[in-house]
């Protein structure tokens, strides 16, 4: 009896999550008409770590939309549990809707090791979406310095490809402190995959990864990049 009820609840939750994801992605398409391009790379069923610039809560949704549906299901965003477990709604969105890999960014309070949590998700067959800036970029700089997590993860799972992903224009759709989005076209560009070289140190690798990501930025005359 109680298991049936638990199953029903689980089913209801999954249905709600599916409906929520549908509405959110439809809305994101309506506002951004997002378009994905692959430069020197192709969609692949292999496990991958996508690393992207982070300017908005919508970043992950745009990447998700432009990935082929069969890859979507096994691609999980890495997000801060310190934010996504704060309220029941956020927990529902983070866990049920987007199946996020939640890590605690706060060194003092955290119990689990973020790298171990990500390794575990990868070992279970997931591809990850990682925002190596660590937080949303609300500055005028195109890209903040990278945290070392990307390096440690890549070092420990050297067979996994690292794919840079540039998300363009979403920061203009929803600037800091605004709550109504302005419809503007956004694009998501996937670049050639990288791997950590044998003797490569953290700084050298993170520099290389950051340049690879910056290189995907579209250039435009006249308007701010």
């Amino acid at each position: 009896m109680s298991t049936t009820r638990a199953n029903d609840a689980g089913m209801a939750r999954r249905t709600a999550a599916g409906a929520f994801a549908f509405v959110v992605t439809l809305f994101a398409r309506f506002v951004t008409a997002v378009h994905g391009t692959w430069v020197g790379n192709e969609p692949s069923r292999r496990r991958r770590i996508y690393f992207a610039n982070h300017a908005s809560h919508g970043d992950f949704i745009l990447i998700w939309i432009v990935l082929p549906p069969r890859l979507r299901r096994k691609t999980r965003p890495v997000a801060g549990s310190d934010y996504w477990l704060k309220s029941p709604l956020k927990r529902f969105i983070g866990r049920d809707v987007f199946n996020a890999v939640l890590i605690d960014r706060n060194r003092e309070t955290r119990t689990g090791d973020p790298i171990a949590i990500m390794q575990d998700a990868v070992d279970r067959g997931a591809s990850l979406i990682l925002f190596p800036e660590g937080t949303r970029n609300e500055t005028e700089e195109p890209l903040l310095p990278f945290k070392a997590g990307l390096y440690h993860l890549a070092r420990s799972r050297p067979q996994i490809e690292l794919v840079p992903v540039w998300i363009d224009n979403l920061n203009r759709v929803m600037p800091k402190g605004e709550f109504i989005p302005v419809p503007l076209m956004c694009s998501v560009t996937f670049g050639p995959a990288l791997q950590v070289a044998d003797a490569e140190g953290a700084d050298a690798f993170l520099d290389r990864a950051r340049s690879a990501l910056l290189a995907l930025r579209p250039t435009r005359n006249g308007s701010p990049a």
């Binding site: 008409a33 224009n169 302005v182 503007l184 076209m185 435009r220 005359n221 006249g222 308007s223």
Partner: protein, 315 residues
Amino acid sequence: MTIHPDLLQLLVGVGAILVVASAVGYVLQRRFSPDGANQAIENLNDRIRAWWVMATLLAIAFIGGRTGVILLFGFCSFAALREFLTLTNVRRADHWSLVTAFFVVLPYQYYLIWIDWYGLYAIFIPVYVFLLLPIVSALRGEAENYLVRIAELQWALMIAVFCASHVPALLNLKIPGYEGRNVLLIAFLIVVVQLSDVLQYVWGKLIGKRKIAPRLSPSKTVEGFAGGILSATAVGAGLWWMTPFTVWQAGLLAFLIAILGFFGGLVMSAIKRDRGVKDWGHVIAGHGGFIDRLDSVVFSAPIFFHVVRYWWTGS
């Protein structure tokens, strides 16, 4: 919701042309590009497929009557405005102006057309919005590039909303003896403008030599221009039966529409060139964005509207 026999005849005609085009595209692909390697043929087939979608949407809108046409062009305006503003200098300080443009100005302009308040929809954007939005942007106190920003926003609204909304506004014209058939005026405008674009492309590919505006739009040629405009004029004259015009009037108006359409394409190419992009977007396969397909309609619609209103409605 009855379909006028003239509309039915036109839809059947357009359907027949598309069937022929698809057949030609299929044969070309089988013979010259079986592995999808020939760019020109692949692009041609993309375009034909997109034409099917566009013709179907228009047909549904026409059959849906006033509501259908207003909704369709309202959405086109939305998509065009989204594409246009993406390429401008608007920034954080303009956020509320942009929100107003998308979620207030655009729906209100189409609402005014819906309720047929000519006195307001003819001046709402050029007068009221023209004065209002700079105020909204100024309130944020950001002076950098101010004139450029407000000018771009106003231009975007004029092109994507004001001009485009004159296509459904054709439904409001009261032409004696033409009651209940206004949707055919829209069909006339769109068929002539779009055929003119296609025919310019075809003539240019066949005999085009001298470039007409090499710095703005390298693919446009004098031969394509002349051949396209003249054949579109002939097609327009041949469509007189669905209009309130005589044969020569229909030809003259088709000529006017085609010329304006050509220059609309040229102007929008100049803007794309300025901004360093090839297409306005990527939504319509083979065509680019909405503006790439609408540029000529947008330029011809308001002039067509006013010419017909002045000479044919007696107001």
